[in-house]
Symmetry: none
DNA sequence: CATCGATGATAAGTATTTGCTTCATCAGCT
DNA sequence: AGCTGATGAAGCAAATACTTATCATCGATG
């Protein structure tokens, strides 16, 4: 699970974000001050840092600069900055500071998640960019976001694609609906809906798969679904 | 991918530049001293050299002069010089030294990228000058900056042209809007604007393409756009 | 300094995706 | 076989994403 450190003195925002990010398989931690932040970076070794510009002690620019300066300690920790308004753009993202992206407040939580994924992807750390081994006739080129089934290119929607990726990363693992719901970013359904079933059904359809004699996605009655790894 | 060699003793700047240039499909390498630099030029055969004026051992002017003097060894390696301040201009760019361009510190990263492209273009090595294979009825003559669709010359604006070039260099690759935004130099849009969509739309229009049954540019829903390479 | 073309912003109009409902079907059980 | 709860699939509707016309802005040009 991705660890996210938030340095922001707005307690409420921190909590909301923590809660929200949890839905997307990210564990957030909040540091209210820069000094606390530095401490936590060392302890937590987060995968990404969300940094508010307005902070006590020193501002976010300063913090960012410091982290970049001491890259020997902090490495290339990806940084997303939250700015009070839409100004300053290039200065932040650009070299001078070395942040990876910025987001003006107020922002949509979705937007934040999208950006986090973006950054993680750029730093080569995201699931959707990890190499996926061809299995059973399906070949995924994650850098092109292209899926081939028996050499034929498939046209998948975002959700379908992500579901497939998830399955292929863990062939033969049985996922419960709950699990799938949580692991698929952006899924936004009622607790007891059949959204997952629907999604699986649609993916199956595009894969030319049938639930009765599945080549790819097997139904595990009472539990969930399994992506079949190898023919045996 | 373009190889860029940076000779600069400022470690931090080097790292940040490396990171930043990576976004634009350029692989940067840093040499902290001139002697190390010469060594790496021979090994790497970079496409362009970024040279700081302030260096240990000998200054950037000296390095530049030496490279030009030994053109039999180093060829016409394009050189971009970084100067501490805005002075000295002509001396650097002029014949005396033979640098191709200069940029005073501090600079905007965008500006640097723009200049790199400029130099590479002049030295006939840039993407916009690289040969582009005719695809699907579109034939681009990069040296004349002329685009023919089914033997008819099209009148494209700068942005449209660059977008097309980018697409044609990576047929069948799906670009996200973010990616396009970053890769198209000169694009300067707000965070949530439809600037890219607009541009695509305009290019499509001039190509006589329709979004519904695209011959060239396919919309990848939820992701971005793809230039169709071959009919399948 | 007026004009024109290029380009970004905006918003109304479409299109597609996706969650939900419903109902037929199926697995597991007695 | 018959019952029960789980699953599959089709259709619908709301949410979300895309297209494009139009306007505003900016810079180049004369």
């Amino acid at each position: 699970m991705k660890q996210i450190l938030i340095i922001d003195d707005d307690e409420k925002l921190g909590e909301l974000l923590t809660q929200y990010l949890a839905r997307y398989e990210m564990q957030a931690h909040v540091a209210m001050t820069p000094s606390k932040g530095f401490e936590m970076i060392k302890k937590l070794k987060p995968d990404l840092l969300i940094l508010d510009v307005m902070l006590p002690e020193k501002d976010g620019f300063e913090v960012c600069r410091e982290i970049r300066a001491k890259s020997s300690i902090y490495g290339q920790l990806p940084i997303l900055m939250l700015t009070a308004h839409a100004e300053v753009t290039d200065r932040i993202v650009g070299l001078e500071l070395g942040a990876d992206d910025y987001l003006p407040k107020p922002f949509e939580p979705r937007e934040l998640v999208a950006r986090i994924h973006n950054i993680l992807r750029r730093s080569g750390d995201d699931a959707t960019l990890r190499e996926i081994k061809p299995i059973n006739g399906i070949d995924v080129d994650t850098s092109r976001r292209e899926v081939k089934l028996d050499e034929v290119v498939l046209d998948l929607t975002t959700m379908e694609y992500e579901l497939l990726i998830l399955f292929m990363q863990y062939p033969n693992k049985t996922f419960t609906r709950d699990e799938l719901m949580n692991r698929l970013r952006g899924i936004d359904a009622e607790l007891f809906s059949r959204a997952v079933d629907t999604l699986v059904s649609r993916l199956r359809h595009k894969l030319g798969d049938t639930s009765k004699t599945p080549r790819f996605i097997k139904t595990v009655w009472g539990r969930g679904y399994t992506f079949i790894g190898e023919q045996r």
